[in-house]
């Protein structure tokens, strides 16, 4: 660190050598302010003052304009505030609405904290960024740093620098004016060789390399998110991905038969599946002679046999076969009332009417369409008013609904037991509409009915 001299050195002989400007050192803030005033009056408008702490009043002397930073802050705050509200609105009310305990989808109040914080954050970014940029920073190469005395600018000395581009600048005259203004020492500002002030090549290469390397992970992530792959995902954190359990359809060495999926132990029935009431659950009389059949009859195979029987086809499937026509119940195993029939009507119209038609004639929309398409595999449903069907006991009708017949699938999985009986009861009512006469109608209802032409 060079110390300031108090005597004025002789003007250097090399005054023809080009210099970048002059740097004058001062020992106090008062001195530098007074000097600035003097020099500006003398016509130096491009001078800059350097100090280790802000000097109040220097801005006025330099006639400096107030920076526009507050506007940057305001703009940042506005963007942050509106951005915060927008996020809360779009993200929680529009794109993926959050339904939370009676709170409105979007409300000003709870969105305010986030908007407020974002406003401050963006305003601060604007101020910080603005300050750095407007200060001309980062500026690692500065010709002033080449002057050893200048190191005290951040310590305890004050400096005035006049650039040679200043209109009033003239090396010798300016130098003496600086001394007149009270400077303790004047140095020449060197002109920097442009090559010297460039960033070292090594640094640039390293920075580029780092930048490119840093780009690799995001690119890979973007690629992974927007392409498909046939290989399973890599899980860095296994979490609960690989659980020590056996999955279906796999082999399992723990069991003799090697299966993971275990069959039911013979004779076991799941809870709720016992369904002892054969009449209710299968439409079969449980007091029949063959008591075994109560538990085993009424299953899919029986319907075919039963339907064949009712159509007069004798059982000829196999000799020595002990298949018997199940003993169908002829009475409803549950109370039949208007409520049941209405339920049956509703269920019929949901499940049955599509094929069988509203009236049971086999003219449902699906049937009509299928016939129209002339698929060839479609069999028109039997009319439910046909004689054989009318003669079937209710238990058999129930069985048909449960297990299906011919092309009709079984609906046991879709319609609960009681609903099936309801449908049967409705069916009987429907059938009655074609066979009933005016004597069957209760006297108080009859006047309300009219003749159909």
């Amino acid at each position: 660190m060079s110390t300031a001299t108090t005597t004025r050195p002789a003007a250097p002989a090399e005054s023809e050598v080009r210099i970048g400007g002059l740097l004058a050192e001062f020992t106090s803030a008062d001195a530098v302010v007074a000097a600035t005033r003097k020099l500006r009056a003398a016509g130096y408008l491009k001078l800059e003052v350097f100090s280790p702490h802000p000097i109040h009043g220097i801005d006025k002397v330099l006639a400096a304009k107030r920076p526009l930073l507050p506007w940057a802050a305001l703009i940042g705050a506005a963007i942050g505030l509106s951005g915060g509200f927008w996020m809360a609105w779009w993200m929680n009310a529009i794109d993926y609405p959050f339904i939370i305990s009676g709170k409105p989808m979007f409300s000003f109040l709870p969105s305010l904290p986030v908007a407020f914080e974002l406003a401050i954050l963006l305003a601060a970014f604007a101020v910080f960024g603005g300050t750095i940029i407007l200060s001309g920073l980062p500026r690692p190469a500065n010709r002033l740093f080449r002057i050893p005395a200048f190191a005290r600018a951040t310590n305890d000395r004050f400096f005035i620098a006049i650039d040679q581009t200043d209109s009033a600048f003239e090396a010798n005259r300016t130098r003496s004016q600086l001394y007149d203004a009270g400077s303790a020492g004047v140095e020449s500002i060197p002109i920097l060789d442009p090559k010297e002030s460039k960033l070292p090549r090594g640094l640039i290469m390293t920075a580029l390399a780092l930048g490119v390397t840093a780009l690799i992970p995001p690119v890979l992530i973007a690629k992974a998110r927007h392409t498909t792959s046939e290989t399973p995902r890599l899980s860095l954190i296994a979490d609960m991905d690989h659980q020590p359990k056996f999955k279906a359809q796999t082999t399992n060495p723990l069991f003799a038969d090697g299966r993971s999926m275990r069959p039911q132990v013979a004779g076991t029935i799941a809870q709720g599946d016992l369904r002892e009431d054969a009449a209710l659950n299968r439409g079969i009389r449980s007091e029949s002679e063959n008591s075994d059949s109560a538990m085993t009859d009424g299953f899919p195979g029986d319907t075919l046999l039963a339907s064949l029987e009712s159509e007069g086809v004798p059982p000829s499937i196999a000799d020595g076969d002990t298949l018997q026509t199940p003993d169908w119940v002829t009475d409803f195993p549950l109370a039949v009332d208007e409520k049941l029939i209405r339920r049956g009507k509703q269920r019929y119209e949901i499940f049955c009417a599509t094929c069988h038609g509203i009236g049971g004639d086999g003219d449902g929309l699906v049937t009509l369409r299928a016939l129209e398409l002339e698929q060839g595999t479609w069999v028109k449903p039997t009319s439910l008013h046909a004689e054989p069907i009318r003669n079937q006991p209710v238990g058999q009708l129930y069985n048909v609904i449960s297990n299906g017949v011919r092309k009709m699938p079984g609906y046991a999985s879709q319609i609960p037991v009681n609903d099936r009986w309801a449908i049967v009861s409705y069916l009987k009512a429907l059938q009655k509409t074609r066979t009933a006469t005016s004597e069957d109608v209760p006297p108080d209802v009859l006047p309300n009915m009219r003749e159909l032409n």
Partner: protein, 412 residues
């Protein structure tokens, strides 16, 4: 160790300040006395001709007295804070604040009719004073030990005593210093300001619980005291800002109050207004969010049947408009803008108290002659006291050791 250059300046100023009497104060005081008399007659007229048992008058009375009271209490607080922080810049405006603070006598005296009414069983305003209403209500019965007329009155007495003693003592001691130039008095005022602040904080809190929160005796909020305090400070600072803004341009007072002083007072006003908004927001958000009917009912009253309109005006006028208008640095130094916004804030503070009190009176907002006459009475009465207190005395603490600092107050 006074800097030499300012000695002459300060002695000039002090000489001038000694001449700062309230000239024309005879006219002012006469005017005020006339207004007081007229409004008093008006109030009595309303009282005798009212058909609702004086209920609306009672509410209007409460509202307006609290308006005056809050400004005086805020002023006392301001003075105490200036002492305890050893601030120098505010010396030239402190005497005005001391006068306003000492005038707390006015609103306190005006509270007496309400106390007398309560003690004689008046139940129109404070429903907990009605034994029939309280009986059978488990919650109110639980609070009976606190919310009963005798204890209420004793508490009111204690609050009033604290306020009057604090306000008057600060003024008196400051005046004593005028005459004796005793520097130790500054130390004394600084030291006493700490207990004053503590007592003030506690009394304002409990007074607001007693007089304002108990209007709806089923409702409660722990931040209520802070809320009322923040409004009181804002209003007091608004009054001081108006005084400073008037002085900064006036021929006589220009040297006492520079644009720097105005800027500082406005900054404080701005800050406390934001603080008020913050407290209001906190209270609202927390009650809204938890959605407990016991608490939300109070807000619901203030969002239906026309009260939502008042809430909206309050939000806009008390916070948003002043926030935007006073944000620029230049605005805080512009006397016209400051006076405008400060007046707006005073109106808004009155509206704030109206919003706190009146939903208990009526389902929808009512505003009429009763409220206005009461307001004029309170303001003129308090102003009269302030004027009479200030008569014949300095408007500036002429011997305050920090006066030179205030006079030189200049920040680039």
């Amino acid at each position: 160790m006074k800097p030499a250059s300012s000695a002459n300046l300060s002695s000039e100023i002090t000489l001038k300040a000694r001449r700062e009497r309230l000239s024309g104060q005879f006219n002012v005081s006469f005017l005020l006395r006339t207004i007081v008399a007229a409004t008093l007659i008006g109030v009595l007229g309303i009282a005798f001709s009212s058909s609702d048992g004086g209920r609306q008058l009672g509410f209007a009375w409460l509202l307006n007295v609290w308006f005056g009271l809050s400004i005086c209490l805020g002023a006392i607080f301001f003075v105490a804070i200036q002492h305890i922080t050893r601030s120098g810049w505010s010396v030239t405006v402190r005497r005005v604040a001391e006068l306003i603070g000492a005038s707390v006598v006015g609103p306190v005296v005006l509270l007496l009719p309400v106390i007398i009414g309560l003690l004689s069983g008046h139940k129109e305003i404070f429903s907990w004073n009605d034994p029939v209403y309280v009986a059978g209500d488990a919650i109110l019965e639980g609070k009976e030990a606190y919310l009963n007329a005798p204890f209420f009155s004793v508490r009111a007495l204690i609050y009033s005593a604290v306020w009057i003693v604090a306000g008057v003592w600060l003024l008196r001691t400051s005046r004593r210093q005028d005459r004796s130039a005793d520097r130790l008095l500054t130390l004394k005022m600084e030291r006493r300001s700490a207990p004053i602040l503590i007592l003030l904080g506690l009394t304002i809190t409990f007074a607001s619980f007693d007089w304002l929160m108990s209007l709806d005796p089923h409702w409660f909020s722990t931040i209520y005291g802070v809320y009322v305090f923040s409004g009181a400070m804002t209003a007091a600072l608004a009054v001081l800002a108006i005084v400073a803004a008037v002085w900064v341009n006036s021929e006589r007072h220009r040297e006492l109050v520079t644009p720097e002083h105005l800027h500082d007072i406005t900054k404080l006003l701005y800050g406390f207004n934001c603080f008020w908004a913050y407290i209001a927001f906190s209270q609202y958000l927390l009650i809204w969010y938890a959605n407990i009917p016991e608490e939300t009912i109070w807000l619901k009253h203030r969002q239906t049947h026309g009260w939502d309109f008042v809430t909206l005006i309050l939000m806009t006028g008390h916070f948003f408009v002043p926030f935007v208008l006073l944000m620029p640095r230049a605005a805080k130094r512009n006397p016209v803008i400051v006076i405008g916004v400060a007046c707006l804030l005073l109106v808004m503070h009155w509206l704030d108290l109206y919003w706190l009190i009146y939903p208990q009176f009526n389902e929808s907002p009512v505003l009429g002659l009763t409220e206005m006459i009461g307001l004029m009475l309170v303001i003129s009465f308090t102003a009269l006291i302030a004027v009479r207190l200030g008569r014949g005395e300095n408007l500036v603490p002429v011997s305050d050791p920090r006066l030179p600092e205030a006079l030189k107050h200049h920040v680039t």
